[in-house]
């Protein structure tokens, strides 16, 4: 990975991001969506108020970008079983109704905007395909057991 900013500063910001923010999010899918939400849709640049204040310059931006790619690679190469587990954790930690969230994700495919720029195209195809399968698995499980509980902590939705 090549950094335009000082690699030591990027590493410090990355470590800070992991400790203070990402470790508080219960699953990788939640982290992916959170990191994607720090990216400007028009310019593709990342911004995090607190992180930028503590790490001025390009360090914070590049740390966010690196963390986004890192989490994406982990999820894209996860097994289907792991991905279904991630999706279940994400659904449980949102305040939405599980069946509605699954239906909305299947119809709008909001997870598409969580893909980092310049990601490997085959990895992107695999990720999108696996999410579609995982959503079907979740729907199948919901039909078998319609009264699955939803959790309390709230995660950002991909549309936010």
């Amino acid at each position: 990975m090549s950094y335009r900013a000082n690699p030591v500063k990027v590493y410090d910001a990355f470590d800070d991001l992991l400790r203070r923010t990402l470790s508080k999010i219960p699953c990788d899918l939640g982290r992916l969506i959170y990191l994607a939400s720090t990216r400007d849709y028009n310019t593709g640049t990342y911004h995090h108020e607190g992180l930028s204040a503590r790490h001025p310059g390009d360090g914070a931006r590049e740390a966010l970008q690196a963390a986004h790619r890192d989490v994406f690679c982990r999820l894209a190469t996860a097994t289907l079983e792991e991905l279904v587990g991630q999706l279940e954790m994400y659904v449980q930690s949102s305040h939405e109704r599980p069946d509605e969230l699954v239906r909305t994700w299947q119809e709008l495919e909001p997870y598409r905007i969580a893909i980092p720029m310049l990601a490997d195209p085959t990895m992107v195809q695999l990720f999108l395909s696996n999410i579609r399968i995982a959503l079907e698995v979740l729907r199948f499980r919901q039909k078998q057991n319609p009264l699955r509980p939803s959790g309390a902590s709230q995660l950002p939705s991909p549309a936010r």
Binding site: C73, A76, T77, T79, L80, E81, L118, A119, D120, P121, T122, M123, V124, Q125, L126, S129, N130, R132, I133, E136, V137, F140
Partner: protein, 183 residues
């Protein structure tokens, strides 16, 4: 009569291979535009990260879906994986063609071509393109996990050709530095 049947069968197989190779060439650009492939300037030394290749043809995922015992899920899984596997083969075929085009350009500048090495590289290229064609056919009729071995073989062959071209290009640049640096 048997000889004629074998001839017809061979001709039909060749036609299928050429048909699928032609299809993959046409759709390579579509794949690139659909996936926003801006990251690849030239080629890399692997088709894509090895974990991705492993996941596409993963038997573990297939086992997971089978354990759920839903024919609908199995159908969806197969259709999804076939799509990704076809994308992977098209990309491999398209990129290996680019590598060989680059090799042909480098070979024109080289003053010490080794015929044996060139023949071996060309043979590997033909084998790889044939495997791509066969995989395109097999993926349509079989589940990708059943093709794990062929995909791994194709991936290794791709790496070999890619490394050979990479080494050849460096050797050519070292042998003829003034050609590329002087105006």
């Amino acid at each position: 009569m048997i000889g004629f049947s074998v001839f017809i069968a061979a001709a039909f197989l060749l036609f299928l291979l050429l048909f699928f190779l032609g299809m993959e060439t046409e759709s390579a650009d579509e794949v690139r535009s659909r996936t926003g492939d801006q990251s690849r300037h030239g080629h890399s030394e692997t088709i894509c990260p090895r974990e991705v290749t492993h996941s596409i043809f993963s038997q573990e995922d297939f086992g997971f879906i089978l354990r759920l015992g839903s024919p609908r899920l199995l159908r969806i899984y197969r259709a999804e994986r076939k799509g990704v596997a076809l994308h992977w083969v098209r990309r491999a075929s398209n990129e290996i063609r680019t590598i060989m085009q680059e090799h042909a350009r480098s070979a024109r500048l080289s003053h010490n071509l080794k015929p044996a090495a060139e023949a071996k590289l060309f043979f590997q290229y033909i084998v790889l393109r044939l495997i791509c064609g066969l995989l395109m056919i097999f993926i349509r009729f079989m589940s990708p996990p059943a093709l794990h071995g062929i995909a791994a073989y194709l991936s290794n062959l791709y790496d070999q050709i890619s490394h050979a071209q990479h080494d050849f290009e460096i050797a050519t640049r070292i042998a003829t530095p003034q050609d590329s640096s002087t105006p």
